[in-house]
Symmetry: C2
Subunit: 467 residues, 2 copies
């Protein structure tokens, strides 16, 4: 696809559409929008546009569609698959000025928001009204709800409450040609036409631009308990995960961390509150929540009893809010902490939960075979294992040519187990060459036909998802 | 669209593909597949095909696509929007021989099934393993799980557990050209390409034919309580619905029945166990479930206290399994019982829950204005109100010409409230002329483009969804 390069005339048009505040070609702005949290990629946009309204988004898209200018939407830039990278240049459509929470409907347990609201800000705003929006990616303190929609994000609470897609009722979107529409209705059940809402969630900015979001909320739980369980063997920790579910317990979080993962986090903060003796090889961080404290204590006791069937050190209970916060802070920083140590690649494998021990074994065996070291952690209760591959002393040549073979082999195994290559990060730029491992020509052709139905000229986030 | 009429040569081909057992042009078979539970429509197919495998479905579709023969999939024929009606003739693809439960995965809480399994049979099979598949349409004793997928069915338990779409992980489907593919993976989280799974759920047989289904299951709850609350005023019953949620309670069912609805059901069975004094105008049937009986009792007491703020008769508690079954039997028969009395139309309105009293008022006002009587009931906890319009002594002329105007007006109001025209029955044949009330030209064109991406020649369930 050949796109038009942006010229002075285009810039003048953009300026007239969005005002001086809404457009920038200043070097720091272009640089800021050239990267996200994905490895070390840099792709400069030609211009950064910052719309303030649906009408402005519509005007920009209509113009770009007419002139064949690529448009890559950008949230907070915390994505891990390169969704916000403007790989074909053109417009970086920075949504940060569309950051108003429009309505919290305490009668119907719904919130209507613009996409540029920080997820945690949204969570806190509804919490003040006694309501709860559970999906909480590790980056919740900085990521935007719009980006969460684009990637169908998850996070620790997905195991009990579901991922972003399970909370989206309705979306206002702008199509490539500038037309504006809602995808559904503000209702809990909907059997009216095709489910465009669910098609847009997770479409990574390739189908349309989301300008308003209606989310379902639930009543806030009044109590939770948090346990950190140190295992002597990482594989046993993975096995214990399934045992908890087989006991009929659905924790509100069930996180796995290899020793190296927690160690990185502990070093990152210089935190010495969590003991890390040599024989501890993995941890499970388990949370249960609900309205009845005695029930949670009972569940925590059951979980402890399950853990104690394996070789473990004593379970640590977080007694205070501060201790809980501290443990979550460690868990949430793991990704960033690992990255701080080395060049890395982050994989986002997901398998049926009971296959987790097998997945971990494959990761390690593949690492041995192809010579890479990995730090594994993630949302074990969902079967979602983040595999951070660190370059360490791997040669540049092996990193570039041998490692992708190893990743292909691992993803092949994941697929055989009934799993897939991304649980919550998306395909974006970095996983697209692997998509053919899990989808055949029929599936890919169908997805491309859908893309074409939404965006016939291919101006929206080109170079993503499809190889 | 002009379709080919089926001739002797086609029949010979079908016979060679499916065997003598797999094909019928016998009058009783054609008649059986000419109707479903939707009003009194009759559209004869030219042939009934009964495949036994994905390969057979694939062979049939490849042939029909090549020869431009329409194919309408049929489950158990319990649909209420005419999805299974072969309005363009051609093939009725009867899925009843694909009725095997293929695997119950007790480790991962998943079941893999063919589409022709009766929903209740599936529920019972997984229950024997301690697992639970919640979606339970009123017709659960006869409807097929495949039909539930096609219509994105709900039922009473949706209010706590979600509708069918919330339990579908992965689907094997046959596209119009006969190619076979899976829509996703057998995982709880998936950010890998577009969500084809959710696009297929609720697509009413217009995009592809579902041949295998992977559903997520949850651990079975050990206890439940059931309450029947008689209200003196129907509007107050609707108001009480929202009060229950505002108190932080999420019942596992919250059903509303107008007096006339329950009266029809009581007469249908000749049941005199439920008192129906003249001053009782509506009932709420409320279920709470969980693992802790004392918690359920507490919730039931809270619910009773909420109800007693309104004018009510004493709350009836179902004390035994037999009493519970009896109440559910009455609730589930309402639709059929109402239909037994008169020619009728069943609407499936859904609004944000707190708008329910306003919706009921609009229904009654619209009825007065256009001269129709309605019997209302449904899944009040979801804001989903079934409006059974009975012909009674309305003239044929008014029924045919005036009533649709009234329905349009009502649906317009529903749309204004943020709701939509079908919560769980689908659009199918009977609602398609109303779709333009909730979707504009942009939305409809997009849906039609998606249809075309799946089924370029339009052989799959023609005459449905789109007017």
């Amino acid at each position: 696809m050949l796109y038009k390069k942006i010229d002075e005339n285009d810039l003048q048009q953009f300026r007239s559409l969005l005002g001086a505040e809404g457009m920038s070609v200043a070097a720091p702005d272009l640089a800021q929008c050239a990267s996200d949290h994905t490895e070390d990629f840099v792709f400069y946009p030609e211009v950064v546009l910052r719309p303030q309204s649906t009408a402005e988004v519509s005007a920009v898209l209509a113009y770009c569609n007419q002139h064949n200018i690529p448009v890559t939407a950008r949230g907070a830039g915390t994505g891990l698959s390169g969704g916000a990278l403007p790989v074909a240049g053109g417009v970086s459509l920075d949504m940060k000025r569309m950051n108003r929470i429009l309505n919290i409907d305490t009668q119907n347990f719904q919130v209507t928001t613009e996409p540029g609201v920080i997820t945690e800000v949204l969570q806190n705003a509804v919490k003040e009204k006694g309501l709860y929006y559970p999906p909480d990616p590790a980056s919740k303190g900085s990521c935007f709800i719009g980006g969460n929609i684009a990637e169908n994000s998850g996070g620790p609470r997905a195991v009990k409450y579901g991922v972003v897609k399970d909370f989206v009722l309705n979306l206002e979107v702008v199509l490539a040609d500038g037309s504006v529409m809602w995808t559904g209705a503000n209702v809990l059940k909907n059997a009216t036409g095709y489910n465009l809402t669910q098609l847009v969630v997770g479409s990574e900015g390739t189908l349309c631009i989301v300008t308003k979001i209606v989310l379902r909320l639930i009543p806030a739980n009044r109590h939770d308990l948090l346990l950190l369980i140190p295992f002597h063997d990482a594989s046993e920790a993975c096995r214990a995960v399934n045992d908890i579910f087989l006991a009929g317990i659905t924790p509100s979080a069930l996180e796995f961390m290899e020793r190296d993962a927690l160690e990185c986090a502990v070093h990152y903060f210089g935190d010495s509150s969590v003991p890390l003796p040599d024989h501890v090889q993995a941890h499970l961080l388990v949370e249960v929540d609900g309205n009845h404290p005695e029930q949670l204590i009972e569940e925590a006791e059951q979980i402890t009893a399950i853990a104690e069937k394996y070789a473990t050190d004593p379970v640590l209970f977080a007694d205070t809010a501060a201790q809980k916060q501290q443990l979550w802070k460690l868990r949430r920083i793991v990704g960033e902490a690992v990255k701080g140590n080395s060049i890395y690649k982050e994989e986002d494998t997901v398998v049926p939960r009971a296959c987790l021990p097998e997945l971990l074994q494959h990761v390690k065996e593949t690492g041995k075979k192809y010579g890479f070291r990995s730090v594994c952690y993630g949302h074990a209760g969902d079967g979602n294992l983040h595999v951070n591959i660190v370059k360490g002393d791997m040669s540049d040549h092996d990193w570039q040519y041998k490692l992708p073979e190893g990743i292909r082999e691992l993803f092949g195994k994941v697929h055989q187990m009934g799993g897939t290559i991304s649980g919550e990060h998306g395909i974006g730029y970095v996983q697209k060459t692997y998509l053919s491992i899990v989808f055949n020509a029929t599936q890919l052709a169908l997805m491309e036909a859908i893309k074409k139905a939404f965006d016939p000229k291919g101006i929206l986030n080109p170079g993503k998802i499809f190889a």
